[in-house]
Amino acid sequence: MIFSIVVQAPPIQCQGAETALRFARALLDAGHSIHRVFFYRDGVHNGSALTCLPQDEVSIPEQWQALAREHKLDLVVCIAAAVRRGLINEHEAGRYKKAHWNLAEQFELSGLGQLVEACIQSDRVVTFGGRS
């Protein structure tokens, strides 16, 4: 079956991002395919390259990256939600004249259309939310 996952929970303050990761792994283990993981609202922070954790903790962004590398996942971060929240790639940094950027590799900024397209292409769409 074809799944898409929508992550609206930020990686640190809410558990939703971690639950989504475990769910994604279980999907792949069961032989299903993941059409896309779409990060919306505060969920965009899952795509941060600057997350710094103590050595005994694994960061959620790095786990998404590892999973994406292994399974060629399409990790799409809503561009409108992201730039408002200070999550940008090199291209947006140029556009907004910022000296730095912080979108992690494997993640891509794109529009809400990618969420709609994911709905069209997928048999199931599963949302993992925060609270606000």
Binding site: V6, Y40, G111
Partner: protein, 120 residues
């Protein structure tokens, strides 16, 4: 049963969080991609449709303005929970747009009519 289109369910009051605006953005995008879309307002989400909003003092954009453009975008159905309205002492006259009022007993059917349900 042919389940079609996307239902966007929104349960948060406007302005205190960005959920109302984010749900609207998603609905408008569905429409741009010519996907049939229904908006369902539940719980505090019914406050999103209250008339007379004016959030300039809190530096936010007026949702009422976007909402009034919904018919132009072919957003086909705006559904509002009757029990959510009732418990807040609100009637359809208090809302900025004509809506379809949905009783609790009709909710399960409304959900099953759509291919996907997105909570925002």
């Amino acid at each position: 049963m042919s389940a079609e289109g996307i239902l966007i369910m929104t349960r948060a009051a406007p302005y205190g969080s960005s959920a109302a605006r984010d749900a609207l953005d998603a609905a408008l995008t569905c429409s741009v991609f010519e996907q049939p879309v229904t908006l369902l307002f539940l719980d505090d989400g019914v406050f999103q449709l209250l008339k007379g909003q004016s959030p300039t003092e809190i530096s936010q954009k007026n949702l009422n303005a976007v909402q009034q453009s919904l018919p132009l975008y072919d957003i086909e159905r705006l559904c509002v929970s009757r029990s959510s309205l009732d418990s807040r002492g609100l009637g359809t006259d208090d809302l900025i747009l004509p809506v379809e009022v949905v009783g609790d007993a009709e909710l399960p059917q409304l959900l099953s009519q759509h291919r996907h349900v997105l909570s925002i």
